[in-house]
Amino acid sequence: MIDYEAIMLTIITASTPLLLAAIGELVVERSGVLNLGLEGMMVMGAVAGFAMAQVTGSAWLGVLMAMFAGVAMSLLFAFLTQTLVTNQVATGLSITLLGLGLSGLIGSGFVGMPGVKLESVSIPVLSDLPYVGTLVFGQDPLVYISIILVIGVSYMLKRTRMGLIIRAVGQNHNSAHALGYSVIKVRYACIAFGGMTSGLAGAYLSLVYTPQWIENMTAGRGWIALALVVFSTWLPGRLAAGAYLFGGVWILGLYAQGMGVPIPSQLLSSLPYVATIIALILISTNRRLSVINTPASLGQGFVPDR
């Protein structure tokens, strides 16, 4: 018999890093910035989190360090794209390349070391409930944080003034500037937030998913998270649904391999990437859906006159 709760658990575990990275990028893109450095920020978070936890023995200090590393990388991106108005696509790529290299360099001393795992929550009685106990009450803290972030971002964008300002800046930075909003400050803040959640996503990989350091352990998840943001048409609820769907696809491949399905393992491993492409095609066939939410100034630099 298939243990459905175990499968759900692994799906959530596989989805959470995607969700964490993507929810930050969603805010970044809503403010009109395209940060392709997700993969680099994530992998830096992973190595920084692992290293800190390894040295101090505290997974939580690792999580903090990972967030710090993600923010630091994102601020490099912000400095180039916002202050120096460089091309956002190329700058994002450079952050990714830099992150992959730097993480390898920092992590070279940590390869093969035992890691520290961030423990799951355990609430007496509730966590032991059949079927839903672990699923609802026994996850690791980052899962809850990711869900809180999705709800929080959704509320922030829709209902708060801050959200209104972020949307305004993303839609038309010239108008926002004319009304006296500091486009660049708003974007710096959003980019830093994106760096923080990417760092968290990295920490999830190296402190929860597989508590050890492996080179390039993000394996393209940063890019898939970027695709998820497009797929979500910039709506947090849809983003969460998409992330769990992708986590499902990822786990499907692993399970099939584990159960000895006579398909080459490489084919199963390629499923998430194929699914990403298919998802992008599906969403693009419905253009009107994405038009209203698409930040109109996405990817364009802004230089105010003085």
């Binding site: 202050t83 120096l84 790529l93 390349l97 992959l100 290299g101 360099l105 693009s284």
Partner: protein, 357 residues
């Protein structure tokens, strides 16, 4: 104090040429600091990294061998990025070219003629172009972001290569190692003398020169620049955005594929799970460092090739991680983008926030 930009009335020629040099200097300085931070003697490490590779014939040859794919892919990407089309999946197209071109030496081992080698090169180009056609089609037909699709295909085609060399194309007498049979001499690129430098370098430089002419002097190059600078002006000039996407992807994909088969038939001599130390991604840096100009790409390709050999040098001599190379390459792209701002803007520091009175 605040840093602000002031637009120059005309782009600065001086900065256009000196910004790559400035970026290199910054990379060297920060690189030295990183070495020092890791407890290595910075000057010694920098010497090993940048100078040592060009002090003896053996390593100069290695530099030229590594520069070959970088230049081939870099010139294609230079044209593509100029047109504001973002193919960042050259690494996958390289692999696809290597796979397609290897059909002849692996499956038609007995076809031994100079024509076979020529056909391998052509098939390599077709392989790369075919893979690149997927993001092009999706972009033109559905408006799907080409950055994401071209990148996803890198992972997919790598897995395909992995499957082939562990499965159907595995050398039956290879002690179960994941690699194909070694290519027959007829299926290998001729080398210069007894060295490692092969015909690929000549091909790469000829293609770079041709593309230089195309970009600088022909209407096709003009079309690329117009569409890249202002798509609406492109439509006004009667140039088709969709055709440009196809042109760029087929060109850069074809050249990446060519680089792939050249790498396999010139340097490695067989298929294996790893055929490229991220040439396809490094070529992105090559293209930018070379000012998106094919002649510039030749020099940038040589420099980045030095960084590979230098990285191996510090790895062997100082026992540092092979990731040093990637860090230097990442920094180089980062700083070149930073310095390029100076072409169009002057930097000024303002006290306070610019207020008056």
């Amino acid at each position: 104090m605040r840093l602000i930009l002031e637009k120059r009335p005309q782009a600065s020629r001086l900065m256009y040429f000196s910004s790559p040099l400035l970026a290199i200097v910054l990379t060297v300085i920060v690189g030295g600091l990183i070495f020092a931070a890791m407890g290595q003697p910075p000057l010694r490490a920098l010497y090993l990294y940048f100078i040592d590779p060009i002090t003896n014939l053996w390593s100069i040859e290695e530099v030229l061998v590594k520069a070959t794919p970088l230049i081939l892919i870099g010139v294609g990407l230079a044209v593509t990025f100029r047109a504001n089309v973002w193919n960042i999946g050259a690494e996958g197209q390289l692999t696809a070219g290597a796979l397609m071109g290897s059909i002849i030496p692996i499956l038609f081992t007995s076809w031994q003629s100079p024509l076979a080698l020529f056909c391998m090169l052509v098939m390599g180009m077709i392989g790369g172009a075919l893979l690149a056609a997927i993001p092009a089609l999706l972009k033109v037909r559905f408006g799907v972001n080409e950055i994401l699709t071209s990148l996803m295909l890198v992972y997919i085609v790598h897995l395909l290569l992995d499957w082939l060399v562990r499965g159907p194309w595995k050398d039956p007498f290879g002690y179960n190692f994941p690699k194909s049979i070694g290519f027959d001499d007829w299926h290998l690129l001729p080398t210069f003398g007894d060295g490692r430098v092969h015909l690929g370098l000549v091909i790469a430089i000829i293609i770079a020169l041709i593309l230089y002419w195309v970009m600088a002097r022909t209407i096709k190059g003009f079309e690329v620049r117009v569409i890249g600078a202002a798509p609406r002006a492109g439509a006004f000039a009667g140039f088709s955005q969709a055709k440009m996407v196809w042109f760029c992807f087929l060109l850069s994909g074809g050249l990446a594929g060519l680089a792939g088969i050249i790498e396999v038939a010139g340097t490695i001599g067989q298929l294996q799970p790893n055929i490229s130390p991220s040439y396809g991604f490094t070529a992105i840096i090559v293209a930018f460092l070379g000012r998106l100009n094919p002649i510039g790409v030749i020099f940038a390709g040589l420099l980045l090739a030095v960084s590979y050999i230098g990285g191996e040098g510090v790895q062997i001599e100082l026992g540092m991680s092979d990731k040093t190379t990637q860090v230097f390459q990442g920094m180089l792209l980062f700083f070149i983008l930073m310095c390029d701002t100076l072409i169009h803007y002057r930097l000024r520091f303002l006290k306070g926030n610019g207020g008056q009175l």
